[in-house]
Symmetry: C2
Amino acid sequence: MKTLFTEYIYHISGVKNLVYSIQEAIEILSRTPRVLRVLLTGLDPIWLNFRKQDQAFSPLDVVGHLILGEKTDWIPRMKIMLSSEGSKEFPPFDRVGFDKSLSLDVNLKLFEDLRRENIDILRTMVTETDFQRTGIHPEFGEVTLEQHLATWVVHDLTHLFQINQTLAYRYKETVGPWIDYLKILQV
Amino acid sequence: MKTLFTEYIYHISGVKNLVYSIQEAIEILSRTPRVLRVLLTGLDPIWLNFRKQDQAFSPLDVVGHLILGEKTDWIPRMKIMLSSEGSKEFPPFDRVGFDKSLSLDVNLKLFEDLRRENIDILRTMVTETDFQRTGIHPEFGEVTLEQHLATWVVHDLTHLFQINQTLAYRYKETVGPWIDYLKILQV
């Protein structure tokens, strides 16, 4: 892993490219609800409910999971790290405890509203001087606010990837020999 | 690979879920330009021009590559397979031969227009009875129209994944220990 990262560092044009910035993070965070709306609204249920395997998330599930993150993970843990009182330990995050009965439209609206509020909280509560504040992750131990906030961004992107991959899996066999060229079907 | 696929087949609820359909494919194909517009428009150039490595595509490059596919791959090869005359051999596809001087806005508009025209051609020229028509791929040999058309869909999704992954790599180091949970940074 270490070697791979060194190699990757070598290839980029400057270390500035790798620095977390609240403003740049918000560019991604604010787009996710809109990307989900454009990608998922009106899709046939055969796409929306498809799963790679029995226990895997369908595209619909992903939206539910993201809502849970807005409610119980990103901002609540951020507040624990910013607070000068109380325990620094994060409560565990229940990644599947979302309401599976809600429609896509209800979920999308809920996610949009929560995300908008949470971006406002991020923008008003945090500055760069807070980045090295810490909390205690149930598995990793001490983590910094900067790591947590960068993870919020990458977490969005990994779940967009998960949706794209789930959709792609419907045609995993149908593409025939092209599977060799299609990385999304190989990971 | 064979074992993995069998396992996956076992998990899905019905084989119908895996069958290529023109109408369902168009649902994805028609969304891609809109997803790209929502995801990329207005992003800081630091995001738009980021690359995982020297030779990797930036998000901007991906749009150029997709335009090239619309012009020289999906429909031209489809027409070769549908034609009763001429060679069945596909000309090779130059995946990097796109115009790197165009702005994001120009590229997005170009891609939207080409995709709309190409979906119209797909809708009017092809029916299920054509799915087993064949062409000769420069590397794979004989391939079917159904494989080619399914690949068009998965190709969109793999490049959306590529963009998400490229954006995520900016924070590959910054996320700290969370890298273990973020699949997009591991593939």
